[in-house]
Symmetry: none
Subunit: 210 residues, 4 copies
């Protein structure tokens, strides 16, 4: 093994850039065709390189999938981490939903998110990655919620925070499904839901206006 196909040891800047190039291309292809329908040839073409070269940077197709997934997960964690105590979730969720409906090839993609999930049910390695990150995300999110409530003078028991965070997560992830299945859903439904639901789960004092 001369290549640094698997992520051990130092990697040159160029190598990092190439990996990025491949991952970007792969993401595009995965979004467009799905994990399995996307061929290595299509990825290499999208990345503007020969098929063989990909294998200098990734051991095989699966490990590209895994890298994409880990990347998405980190992004998810970053999003949670970026939440401030006084963040209003509503606009963020609406944006998220919109981007899901549009299915942008570069951004977080709802089909990809769902496919990731499905993949976990067949590929233990992916299942593990997902579980690990989901646990982190859950904790981060729960912590954020607790903090947010606290800073608004509301004190909730751990159990209470837990079910609220869980429910909200389910709701938001359920939106991924809706975004795919109803690409032209009347947004007012979502607005209404958020306006009514969110306060139920995050019982913060009213902000003025909508």
């Amino acid at each position: 093994m001369t290549q640094n196909a698997s992520g051990s040891g130092k990697v040159s800047k160029r190598a990092q850039a190439q990996r990025e190039r491949i991952l970007a291309a792969a993401q595009k292809c995965f979004v467009e065709y799905g994990f399995h329908a996307a061929s290595m040839a299509s990825i290499s073409e999208a990345a503007g390189m020969s098929p063989g070269l990909i294998y200098r940077y990734f051991e095989n197709k699966d490990s590209i999938i895994l890298a994409i997934i880990e990347r998405q997960l980190e992004e998810g964690r970053a999003n949670i981490a970026a939440l401030r105590a006084d963040t209003d979730l509503k606009p963020g969720i609406i944006d998220l939903f919109r981007s899901w409906q549009q299915n942008y090839p570069d951004a977080m993609s709802a089909p990809l998110f769902l496919e990731m999930t499905v993949e976990a049910s067949r590929n233990p390695q992916i299942a593990e990655a997902l579980q690990a990150t989901d646990a982190v995300i859950r904790n981060d999110f729960t912590a954020w919620m607790k903090r947010t409530c606290a800073s608004n003078g509301i004190h909730l028991s751990d159990e209470e925070v837990q079910w609220r965070a869980f429910s909200l997560k389910c709701f938001i992830e359920g939106l991924a499904i809706r975004a795919v299945r109803e690409p032209d859903l009347d947004m007012s439904v979502l607005h209404n839901s958020l306006k009514a639901m969110l306060p139920l789960l995050l019982p913060l004092p009213d902000k003025a206006g909508d």
Copy 2:
């Protein structure tokens, strides 16, 4: 074209039975391996017939997938239709979640449900089928909710029913994702969520017990 592979025109009883056999086999295989990893060979074996014969009843693999999806959708509609005004959703949802976690080969399967959804983002025919049925289901479900509230003396505006139904749907579908990603989730979280969430969305008078 001698075959009636596509569903136009009269179809003999035998043909219907054969289609059923194939669909049942396909469903089993799809649940076990996923749409794409399941091979026609595995389906034909599960159906106890030759691969060639399948093509007398279905034009190709995609149309089997389509048929499976339509079937699932009908089942979904039937489930909604079977709801009675006084149904308590909680046990049903818990059962559903459990079956999702177990990934039973015959029953509704969470990964399959998600894969169906993903498929819609690439296959317009499937997208259409999903949209059409989701619309029906939404109506049915909303109607059920309205009826149920009414029969409990609670009167909600259309808009109100709508966001509640939508939210509940998202929550439940979000559970499908959780079921796959956290196959060994502590059920108490779910119990707590349902105990607290459900009344928020379905403001029925308290039943005694749990």
Copy 3:
């Protein structure tokens, strides 16, 4: 697994014939190009069938190699078994050597025999097959030698028969190497060697003439 790719269970006559066709083609290609340089495409072409079809009858290329090897081994055993107590080895060996020098694509081939041997040093499965058959062949050959000597009134101890059989085997197999490396060896050398060597190892009473 619908196919009977591996040799378990009953196999139809047609299947047997196909396997034969493939093995014959493979043997031809292996002789011509070697195990590794012979491609599945070349084999399928030689067999007059599509590449995919081969996999209905053989699990993979390795198992074709293995089958070829087992076939050769059986042939070797059959040759030993066909020896009669009064067989004169000399003409048989000379014929063998000649056929080796010619490298006929259908018959036993010296390069193939050598390649089989090399392969054993890297592929444990093949090593095992070779060892198993070599043991049988050794026994058969030793038994034949003992019988032959006995029927000529010569009684040798087990140990004596053993080293003679071993030496003769080495000599003959060494001829395979010579046949490949000296395709136009002056046959008189071989004749002389056999005339002088053979009696040393197989001390039978003189037959008249050469």
Copy 4:
């Protein structure tokens, strides 16, 4: 052609050293994996240089194989040349056999020897090299045998020496095959064979002991 990849013309000392480094590495790899399974990458790694550099010293992989073969042949000739008139072959052969069974990565390797031979049956250039050297070796060996016998007071006709040398060569080369196919052969068989065979071919007066 700027490179002196093919061995024509003057070559600098450094170039010679580099070639040596490559050949040593190649030999190691060939012994370990075989000619075809050994990749240029593995060779370059073993040689501690980049793959590209190898092509400055060798035109392609085949010419490395050829060089290795020529090297082995020279070694073989050297071994023969090193024989002294009074050498007792037995311990040498036993050592040889042992080293073959062990398949040492640096020393002469039985599989490699066989693979070399096989290669000759497909590559005329190699065939030629082998034939040429085998002729030399045969002469050297025959000469040594004649000398040895003479110095022991035994006079053999040319023809007699010839068949004895030939037979002995076949026997020894046959041992290479046995070494690969029976890596755990009971050495006593070999001892017995040599004790009995060798005097038959090399009719020297008895030395005391075994």
